[in-house]
């Protein structure tokens, strides 16, 4: 509603796997300069929604549009070219490549040198490579993990690996960043760091995240979409959603106080 330029919009998305309806008539919009959170209990369809957004799952009906243009045949490798980056739940780091190389893969779509200039190692390819290397180092530096640039991911702590995965998504300078459970496995301190980092990103891009951690979601998101059994049961600001009776009954049915 606010942005002059529309972001990612889903209209009446329905996905079925065999007889199981994973998503049913879901609509949402990730707008520029905002953080959209998708929440819901396990099995609510969050991951399916994410996979629709990046082309891994093709919806049975409904439409997907990006900057006002429909994307009827979105394939995963088209995503980067459209200015959309995503992180993966399992991180998906390249284990036999250095951290810097991992991030450079994220910058691949901006590489200007082609096969022949690579084969002959023309100055053009070397210059291009140096430019991308600088950019990758800058992103690693921004996330505070530049000192690991020459290490292999498998030897690094989980929180560092998560930042490497995030750096790989950010180095493409996307207009929309899709984050799949960015807070999983992080300590409370690391999570609040992540929160402020995500808020800082909104001046450059739209962010859409799927997350379990309510603390993070409530403090970071501008808008929330609550899914339950593949349907949107509530949308609105975090405060509105918290007070929504439908959310309360789906979510807060049996509130258990921690011992």
């Amino acid at each position: 509603m606010s942005g002059a330029r529309p972001g990612l919009a889903m209209q009446d998305i329905t996905v079925t796997f065999g007889g199981l309806t994973a998503l049913s008539g879901v609509s949402l919009e990730a707008r520029p300069h905002e953080v959209l959170g998708v929440i819901g209990p396990n099995g609510a369809g969050k991951t399916t929604l994410f996979n629709v957004a990046c082309g891994f799952v093709r919806p049975d009906s409904g439409s997907l549009s990006w900057r006002g243009q429909e994307l009827p045949r979105l394939r995963p490798h088209d995503l980067a070219g459209l200015g959309i980056s995503r992180t993966l739940q399992g991180l998906g780091l390249f284990d036999r490549m250095t951290v810097l190389d991992n991030v450079l893969v994220g910058a691949d779509r901006d590489a200007r040198s082609g096969f022949w200039s690579d084969l002959l190692s023309l100055p053009r390819a070397t210059r291009d490579e140096a430019r991308l290397r600088d950019r990758a180092r800058a992103v690693l530096d921004e996330l505070g993990v530049a000192s690991y640039a020459d290490r292999y991911p498998a030897s690094l702590p989980y929180a560092v690996r998560k930042k490497v995965a995030l750096a790989r998504a950010l180095v493409a300078e996307p207009e929309l960043l899709l984050l799949d459970e960015p807070a999983s496995g992080l300590s409370d301190a690391e999570m609040s760091d992540l929160g402020s980092l995500l808020r800082g990103l909104t001046d450059r891009m739209a962010v859409m995240l799927v997350e379990h951690h309510m603390d993070l979601v409530m403090s970071v998101c501008d808008d929330l979409v609550v899914l339950d059994f593949g349907r949107v049961i509530a949308t609105g600001t975090p405060a509105e959603v918290r007070d929504d009776p439908a959310v309360q009954s789906a979510y807060l049915g049996e509130a258990v106080t921690d011992a």
């Binding site: 002959l120 190692s121 989980y158």
Partner: protein
């Protein structure tokens, strides 16, 4: 740039390589130069294969067959005493023809993984010699095609005499051609593996989903790796045809494909140095072992039987002692190597990972505000 970094630039290494090659080929006799030519063509093909298998994770049991394509193309172009093309042109045609065949196979291979890919390329290795038999009129059948190696041009003879101070024999001419081809092929392969193209190949090898999300088309990355690898095999077939002066089905059996794969594994997947080491081992080990057997008092036949035994033992020893290959022994931190990266402390790492795994599941339940754990109410 530090001296060390300048020294490992491919162009600098190639220049040093040329100097070494000229010195060595000048010093050895004709018999050794034939062996060195063999090392060159095995090295070129192994170099292409190590890029495919080590950097892109595709296995090929059919590279011997791709060499056959290059060799037969060479033979067909060198049937007459007056060849229609200069040798360099023959090399280009042989490489391009193999590249096209490789592209066709690569498109099919891009859809296959692991054992299926091994099976498909194995079929290639078995089928290609059969094609030579089937089209016996053109391709010479079992006997194969003779290759007429043109004489070295006058300026080459003059230049060789000027540099080495001796006359260039035909087998040394072929050895120089073979090693020249190797230097050019390795230079190209090294540039590709270090650059963006190689990074794409490695990304696809390590994690397909993540590579795809980063905008890499899996199919294109796989096919391009196969094409590059096939081109190297074609160039190797050209050198082999010149060296053995014959293109016959028996030379390009499954054994050749397996030999190449062994060279690559021995040397270290993904490493060009390793591919060259592996080729050297395959070329010289049988000779060295047989000689040692004879001098130890064995008769010729028994000494020759010793070679496969020692070869097998070396293979087992390398796999046990240096699983990342011979090249990793001297340069353990090579980038882009297919061997597992070294961990600072593997035990610490796995304990840490386990702890994180536990921590992650601990946090799975949905927390709304501190202290409250909420569960969904499941409809009955």
């Amino acid at each position: 740039m530090t001296v060390r970094r300048i020294l490992v630039q491919p162009v600098v290494l190639a220049a040093l390589g040329v100097v070494v090659i000229v010195l060595v080929l000048t010093a050895v006799d004709d018999f050794r130069s034939v062996q060195l030519t063999q090392m060159a063509y095995l090295g070129i093909a192994a170099g292409g294969l190590t890029v495919l298998t080590g950097l892109n994770g595709q296995i090929s049991l059919g590279h011997g067959a791709l060499m056959a394509v290059g060799a037969y193309t060479t033979a067909l172009l060198l049937q007459d005493d007056e060849p229609m093309l200069p040798l360099l042109g023959v090399l280009v045609v042989a490489t391009v023809v193999t590249l096209v065949v490789g592209a066709a196979i690569g498109v099919a291979a891009a859809r296959l993984h692991g054992p299926y890919l091994a099976g498909a390329t194995l079929a290639l290795a078995v089928a290609v010699p059969g094609i030579a038999l089937y089209f016996g009129d053109t391709l010479g059948g079992e006997q194969g095609l003779r290759v007429r190696v043109p004489d070295a041009p006058g300026w080459v003879l003059d230049a060789a005499y000027f540099v080495t101070g001796q006359d260039l024999t035909p087998s040394k001419y072929v050895a120089f051609l073979g090693w020249g081809t190797l230097v050019v092929a390795y230079l190209g392969l090294a540039h590709l593996s270090r650059g963006r193209v190689g990074r794409r190949w490695r990304a696809v090898r390590d994690d397909e989903v993540a590579a795809e999300v980063a905008g890499i088309s899996l199919g294109r990355a796989r096919v391009s790796a196969f094409v590059v690898s096939a081109a190297a095999a074609g160039a190797a077939g050209f050198v082999m045809a010149l060296s053995v002066r014959l293109a016959a089905p028996s030379g390009y059996s499954l054994t050749l494909s397996l030999t190449l794969l062994t060279a690559v594994v021995l040397g270290g997947l993904g490493s060009l140095t390793g591919a060259l080491l592996g080729a050297a081992l395959l070329t010289f080990l049988p000779q060295v072992v047989t000689d040692a057997g004879v001098s130890a008092g064995l008769d010729d036949i028994r000494a020759a039987e010793l070679a496969p035994l020692i070869y097998g033992l070396v293979l087992v020893a390398v796999i046990l002692l240096a699983p990342a290959g011979l090249s990793a022994v001297s340069a353990p931190r090579g980038t882009g190597r297919a061997g597992p990266p070294r961990r600072e402390n593997p035990h610490e790492h796995s304990a840490q990972a386990a702890a994180q795994e536990v921590g992650r599941h601990d946090r799975r339940p949905h927390l709304v505000g501190p202290g409250r754990r909420l569960r969904r109410r499941r409809p009955q």
